[in-house]
């Protein structure tokens, strides 16, 4: 499988989680094609809402920055997994900016899916979508619920064939291995 990970950890403070993720990544690389992106180490602008990617240069963002690496990976991936701690009750702004910048990979048109308006996808790959919420021991259930609902909706917008959510402490990262091996 082709796996794409978006790591939205904003700073160096989650060492244990990051070491655990590195181990999982190495493990997965033995069997899969793994693209692992750590957003804070990349040059990625916030979406500016210009819609160039829909109306001027279809499929290409006006910013020629590191996001093109992620978009390329997303265009052929089988499983896209966002990893984020909770900040201000939601996923981090680093995580959110990558979610926003996904739209070049969608078409501008609005179609009806399950009685709701959504955009069709630009690429034909069937994507599974996951969100891994990192638990630092102080999670509020309301934040987890809101993030989960957001990604459930996001998975509809991405026409994901599966939605997966996990809340994990640093020593529980193996759930990711289990999830991937069950697919």
């Amino acid at each position: 499988m082709h796996l794409t990970f978006i790591n939205g950890i904003p700073n160096d403070e989650l060492k244990k989680h990051e070491i655990a993720l590195e181990k999982i990544k190495k493990q997965l690389e033995k069997q899969h094609e793994v693209d692992f992106f750590t957003v804070r180490n990349m040059n990625i602008s916030y979406c500016c809402g210009c819609l160039s990617c829909w109306t001027k240069t279809p499929g290409l963002c006006i910013f020629n920055d590191d996001m093109s690496l992620i978009l390329k990976s997303m265009a052929s991936t089988d499983y896209l997994i966002y990893i984020s701690p909770v900040s201000a009750g939601f996923v981090t702004s680093d995580t959110k900016k990558v979610m926003d910048r996904f739209i070049p990979n969608a078409l501008p048109y609005i179609k009806i899916y399950d009685g709701e308006c959504h955009h069709p996808k630009r690429y034909n790959n069937n994507v599974k979508l996951g969100v891994v919420i990192l638990d630092e021991g102080n999670l509020e259930s309301e934040a987890v619920e809101l993030i989960t609902k957001t990604f459930e909706r996001f998975s509809k917008n991405m026409h994901a064939t599966k939605f997966f959510k996990a809340v994990v402490k640093a020593d529980e990262m193996e759930v990711l291995l289990n999830e991937i091996s069950n697919c």
Partner: protein
């Protein structure tokens, strides 16, 4: 009373958010004891100054467009700064307006729930939230079709000025439709009205032939 408006649009001063905010504002601007100031989340290097402006507010009104089912990333970054400064914002009244390109309010419900949670999380006083769909058509459509909504927005303006919670009736008028009625779903399924809007933009930019391009394959 000093109102501070947080414009949470990545389009900044050219945003639909700036147009929509004029509707409640127009109703209360004339009051002698009323002043307002706007801050734009797009001005990333001004965060320290912007937080100082928030501290001077008697009431904070946040408006943002829905981006992938929640606030835009740059707006989330602003919220993170608010959280870091929550002690100096505690107990101030705050309310939110979320607008989306999709026509149905249901697309924004979860984002609105988040704004209520966020307000409580940082110890502010949540006064209510509004959802408005169909905002991408705002510059193309005649203002007359928004007549009822503008009237409700003016009433929202009065609620803000009086520091009262939003009226349920106003919220309902502005958010309509919650979901698309069956007739409209049927029409949209077989007559792709939105295609016309997007295709005309693509043609104007000489990009119509490339509309289904897959540059990353």
């Amino acid at each position: 009373m000093k109102l501070v408006i947080v414009n949470g649009s990545p389009r900044g001063r050219k945003s639909n958010s700036d147009k929509i905010i004029e509707w409640p504002l127009s109703e209360i601007k004339a009051n002698q004891d009323f002043v307002y100031e706007k801050v734009y989340v797009t001005e990333l290097n001004e965060r320290v100054k912007q937080i100082e402006v928030l501290k001077t507010a008697d009431y904070i009104l946040v408006i943002f467009p829905l981006y992938t089912d929640s606030m835009p990333g740059i707006t989330k970054e602003f919220f993170e700064h608010m959280e870091k400064n929550k002690e100096s914002l505690a107990l101030k009244p705050i309310s939110f307006i979320i607008h989306s390109g999709f026509p149905e309010a249901l697309q924004s419900r979860n984002a609105l729930k988040y704004t209520e949670y966020f307000s409580k999380l940082i110890g502010m006083k949540y006064m209510g939230g509004i959802i408005m769909g169909g905002s991408e058509a705002l510059s193309a459509a005649p203002q007359s079709i928004y007549r009822k909504k503008i009237k409700a927005f003016k009433s929202i303006g009065r609620s803000i000025y009086k520091c009262k919670e939003f009226e349920a009736a106003d919220k309902i008028i502005i958010s309509k439709p919650e979901a698309l009625p069956k007739v409209q779903l049927f029409i949209m399924k077989y007559l792709n009205i939105s295609d016309f809007f997007w295709n005309s933009l693509l043609k104007k930019n000489n990009a119509f032939e490339k509309r289904f391009d897959k540059p990353y394959l």
